[in-house]
């Protein structure tokens, strides 16, 4: 199981090769990519910060859970940190399994859990400012205190 937090460019071929198996009929690959806009603002670049040792630990726990839950043969989870330009890959996930349905369901579940639990943070940098994006999907996010009239 390939698990890695790194400031180097993520290599798709490496992550696919890491999950190959003669018993695999399906491989699913997910690339989370820096896009040029966020909630209507033009993004210049992103900066990812991690608590690297804990991030790898939690990524491994999530990957093990995904293997059991979806009967995956193997999976790989790689997260990049540092400054990323538009079009660069921040998250790379590969899963291999017998059939296609589990490959999509397992991959999707993995990304969702990573978004909630892995200690990685994202700062958006625009032409005229920057902001830490505190993920609304994080387990640590409180719902709003009350409804506004």
């Amino acid at each position: 199981m390939l698990i890695r937090v790194t400031d180097q460019v993520l290599n798709t071929q490496e992550a696919i090769a890491a999950v190959e198996s003669p018993a695999a009929g399906a491989v699913n690959v997910f690339l989370g990519v820096v896009r040029d806009n966020s909630l209507g603002r033009r993004v210049g670049f992103l900066e990812y910060e991690a608590y690297p040792s804990m991030a790898e630990k939690v990524m491994r726990e999530i990957a093990e859970e995904a293997k059991t839950r979806f009967g995956l043969i193997d999976c790989a989870v790689l997260h990049r940190t540092g400054k990323l330009a538009i079009g660069e890959t921040s998250l790379l996930i590969t899963v291999s399994c017998g059939h296609r349905a589990e490959s999509f369901e397992g991959g999707h579940w993995l990304v969702n859990e990573i978004k909630k639990r892995v200690p990685v943070w994202k700062k958006e940098v625009w032409e005229d400012g920057e902001e830490w994006i505190e993920g609304p999907e994080s387990l640590g996010m409180q719902p709003p205190a009350g409804m506004r009239a």
Partner: protein
Amino acid sequence: MGYNAQVTITILLFASVAAAAGIRRLEMPIEPGDTVGSVRDRLVACRPELAPFVPNLMYALDEEYVKDADPVRGGATLALIPPVSGGC
């Protein structure tokens, strides 16, 4: 009893919280009976700029998510985890 690793805790700060505090790592003495919450409260008492983050913080003790009421051990590392946004 001397002030040593057995009775101190390392605190890690990240992202928005590190930016607000202007520090990424510090050591704090702990007292018998201390919990995650009591250590956090003493930290916020000396660094009030952290108070606005408290409602959305998670905590990890030696890289394991814990709750406010969980006890802390001397020599442990407590990370203040603002809402994560890993992935994409």
